[in-house]
């Protein structure tokens, strides 16, 4: 190990000060092909082998010019990149030097549930001063990550990347390989952030509508139209600009632990194939990633190989990973630009053939505003909302609306002129029309109360904890998402991708479990089906069964939903699946994925927005053998 080990031993980490001066060290020119490149300023050492000693401890971190208390693994931010090999058994001795219980969760890994690192489910956590030894066989390859699953430690710095080399030859060999860990850092303590959200949920939103916005609308749209447009928002008491709960007001967005000023830099030689392994290790931030001047080709998502697709920009949800390949031909520098979904800040780095070169940093886009699509009113991607006036939302009996009725909705009437995505597909909804798959019903589990359709709102959704319900949630897998619909370039969507080699498992589920993503922004309450974790009953899957999980997003926020221990095979329609561990569900969206319950145990299932999870958007999923399931019911 070279420069990175030095950083690793330091007792504090500097984001601001380590600028271009520290760059150029290491192995530019030395790097043999396929070596995970550590000559960039990763800020994190690379540890490889099959036995690892990791120490979680407090350390000062200086990102903004102020020393603030962080929690780091082996003293580095991000934590060391762990490099494993498929087929090995790894042993990880994790020692907790924090004054509070800690843990490490190996995100996206298939392992015995006792090794999964969720206190209360997998084990008791790692007490202060204790060492816990994780040991498990590696049955997969690709890009993953790890983080603390205790309280808010992840926000304070306990996160790092995992790169697992395939047992066999890499199908996409490259000349250089960079880990790109995106994260959000705050000088505030995360407990403080959470308490602030509970007191004043829009605290961090400095993009609220002003009187001048209304006056401008009066001029541009007319008074009557403006009042009409505003009517719905005003009666709903929702903010049209609520894209992120925690924003650049308190966050500094980091790439490999470096602030935009510190400018993480990776080197390449023109013509080389460079793999960038993006990991969104942030607590609360969706990143829109692009490299002006360079197209990317996706080769893996959440560690799993996908059929390559060329694109220019993608939105990476919290906890997702994406491996892309770029081939810069010219001797010029490129900016890796990752702006937050609400455009309140960005992470940035540079790919360059010469450490002395850098490229222009693009302007952030204007902050997008939520629209009918996000309200779950059946709006479609890219649709001109003005054209939707003809839809009489009031007249729709949404509570009873079934999918048949939705298919009857004449999309042709809805102003497709504004739509850019000719290939828009409604296939995600296919299974609803003819319900051959029974809905899971368990008498004593309110999540699994009888339902007649997936969009039906259960009684538990009507209470103080739920401030809205999507009236007509739609299939939106090919929707790039808010703020990305009007792009002149290709924006990657789930619908573009497909797990390489075809469906990795059966397309036919045994049962369907429906969960609505719910919340009350102003009270800062988050839940599934209006029931927060504290009031919930574990969701039971029978060992070996193939379950369909259908999610309906009844909120106006985007939620990355992560199931531990089992793959989530997103149903793309046309017999295509996308194997993932974390699935981003857009506001107003309905999607479904198939889960093979092939690992018994107690697994965490939750929104990966840290403060949503803490607020109760969390379930235990329990995979039990069939005999147990029967006993439990009798």
């Amino acid at each position: 190990m070279t420069s990175s080990a030095v950083i690793g031993r330091r007792r504090f980490v500097q984001g601001l000060a380590l600028g271009a001066g520290a760059l150029g060290i290491g192995g530019f020119g030395l790097s043999p092909a396929r070596l995970l490149a550590d000559q960039g300023q990763t800020g994190a050492p690379i540890l490889s082998g099959n036995t690892f000693n990791l120490a979680i401890g407090g350390a000062d971190v200086n990102i903004t010019g102020k020393k603030r208390p962080g929690m780091l693994v082996n003293g580095s931010l991000p934590a060391p990149t762990l490099r494993w090999r498929e087929g090995d058994t790894v042993t990880l001795n994790v020692t907790n030097y924090l004054p509070a219980t800690s843990s490490i969760h190996w995100h996206g890994l298939l392992l015995p549930f006792q090794m999964d690192g969720v206190p209360g489910l997998s084990f008791d956590g790692i007490a202060p001063g204790e060492t816990f030894t994780y040991r498990f066989p590696i049955k997969q390859n690709g890009t993953y990550w790890y983080h603390s699953h205790s309280r808010f430690q992840e926000q304070s710095g306990v996160y790092g990347a995992i790169v697992i080399d395939p047992a066999e030859a890499d199908p996409e060999p490259v000349d250089r390989d960079y880990v790109m860990v995106l994260s959000d850092w705050s000088d505030e303590k995360p407990e403080q952030i959470y308490a602030t959200l509970k007191k004043l949920s829009h605290y961090y939103n400095f993009n609220e509508r002003t009187i001048f916005d209304t006056l401008r609308d009066f001029r541009e749209k007319g008074v009557v139209q403006t009042l009409k447009d505003r009517h719905m928002w005003n009666t709903m008491r929702m903010s049209q600009s609520d894209l992120a709960d925690v924003t650049g007001y308190t966050y500094t967005y980091l790439l490999n632990g470096r602030s935009p000023n510190a400018n993480w830099t990776g080197l390449f030689k023109p013509g080389e194939r460079v793999k960038l392994r993006f990991v969104n290790a942030s607590a609360m931030t969706f990143f829109d990633i692009r490299i002006p001047g360079l197209d990317m080709t996706v080769v893996a998502m959440d560690g799993q190989p996908v059929k390559p697709v060329r694109f220019h920009e993608c939105r990476l949800g919290v906890a997702e990973t994406i491996d892309v390949i770029v081939t810069p031909e010219k001797k010029q520098a490129f900016t890796v630009f990752a702006q937050s979904i609400d455009r309140s800040g960005f992470a940035r780095g540079t790919l360059t053939p010469d450490p002395a070169m850098s490229a222009a940093v693009p302007e952030m886009d204007p902050p997008p505003l939520l629209g009918h699509t996000e309200m779950g009113m059946g709006g479609m991607a890219g649709m001109n909302h003005g054209d939707m006036e003809g839809m009489n939302h009031g007249a729709m009996d949404h509570g009873k609306m079934d999918h048949g009725a939705m298919k009857g909705m004449q999309h042709d009437d809805m102003g497709h002129g504004g739509m850019k995505h000719a290939g828009m597909q409604h296939k995600g909804m296919q299974h609803d029309g003819d319900h051959k798959v029974p809905f899971a019903f368990v008498a004593d589990n309110p999540d699994l109360a009888p339902r007649t359709s997936a969009v039906q709102h259960l009684d538990s959704e009507y209470g103080p904890g739920v401030d809205m319900r999507a009236m007509a949630p739609a299939a939106m897998l090919d929707d790039p998402g808010i703020g990305l619909r009007e792009r002149d370039w290709k924006v990657l969507t789930y619908a573009d991708m497909e797990t390489a080699g075809g469906p990795p498992d059966s397309l036919t589920p045994d049962r369907e479990i429906v969960l609505h993503l719910t919340g009350n922004m102003s009270r800062y309450m988050w839940s599934f089906n209006g029931i927060k974790f504290a009031d919930s009953v574990p969701l039971e899957l029978h060992h070996g069964e193939r379950a369909r999980i259908t999610l309906v997003n009844d909120t106006m926020m985007t939620h990355p939903i992560h199931l531990h221990g089992l793959w989530s095979d997103l149903e793309l329609g046309d017999g295509r699946l996308l194997r993932k561990h974390t699935i981003t569900v857009k506001p107003g969206e309905k999607l479904s994925y198939l889960v093979r319950a092939d690992a018994t145990g107690r697994w965490a299932y939750h929104c990966h927005l840290l403060y949503h999870m803490e607020a109760g958007m969390f379930r235990e999923v329990r995979v039990v053998d069939n005999a147990t399931a029967k006993e439990a019911r009798s």
Partner: protein, 238 residues
């Protein structure tokens, strides 16, 4: 060193009641908010006025405390009366809470008044922060108080807050010389600048007028029934 071992179904079930998954208890939070802390240039001299509240609790149930009052600062100072309230605050709808509690009016020169209070607090459509309280006192005294305010943003930090308060009484209170029916209206317009979200100095104007029987009684006693004051103060919370 702890080792992975094959899980048995029996072990799973045995584990479940004992080990609490994650942290299932609900944490409590608290907020103290001094909505108004201001001086008013009243006819009788400089008046200090305040309106503050605090809560402690979880998502659905909170302990709620509030106080408001006025004090004449000139001539040695004299508290012109203030009230304190304590209530159990229970969320019952997405934007609305019940408040069940008690209120005491502290009167320096007159008898104190105690009330049971039943209220609804929340955000009405079009985002009017709204408070409605029914107070039931001794000897058949009742009051109804309606309060609402709105926030108009000039910028993200410069915010104009129109506010309206109306008090009605079910019965005259001869000891305090107030009548029945509409007692008074109070309207305020405050322009605050949020230096931080938590700290905002403001200036504004406050208008108060008595009506009906209450106004007649005040006039008979030689008092003023209407007063407009300029105000300057600070809003803060933590």
């Amino acid at each position: 060193m702890k080792q992975a071992h094959p899980i048995t179904a029996a072990a799973l079930l045995a584990l479940s009641p004992l080990v609490q998954a994650m942290d299932k208890h609900e944490p409590a939070f608290s907020r103290v908010i001094v909505d108004e802390f201001e001086t008013r240039d009243a006819d009788e001299g400089t008046v200090a006025a305040w309106e503050a509240a605090a809560w402690y609790g979880g998502d659905l149930n909170k302990l709620y405390l509030s106080t408001e009052g006025e004090r004449l600062m000139d001539n040695g100072g004299e508290t012109e009366g203030f009230e304190t309230r304590v209530a159990w605050n229970r969320a019952f709808a997405p934007f609305w809470d019940w408040q069940l509690g008690a209120r005491r009016d502290w009167q320096p020169d007159d008898p104190n008044r105690d009330w049971a209070s039943l209220g609804v607090q929340g955000v009405a459509p079009y985002r009017f922060e709204t408070d409605v309280n029914l107070f039931i006192g001794e000897d058949g005294l009742t009051q109804l108080r309606l309060e609402t305010e709105y926030e108009l943003l000039f910028t993200q930090k410069l915010i104009l807050v129109p506010a309206l308060e109306m008090n009605l009484a079910g019965k005259a209170d001869d000891e305090l010389n107030t009548g029945d029916g509409l007692m008074n209206l109070e309207a305020g317009l405050r322009l605050r600048y949020e230096v931080r979200r938590e700290f905002a100095p403001y200036i504004g104007v406050n208008w108060e007028r008595q009506f009906g029987d209450t106004a007649s009684r005040t006039r008979d006693a030689g008092g003023e029934v209407e007063e407009t004051t300029l105000v300057a103060g600070v809003r803060l919370w933590f």
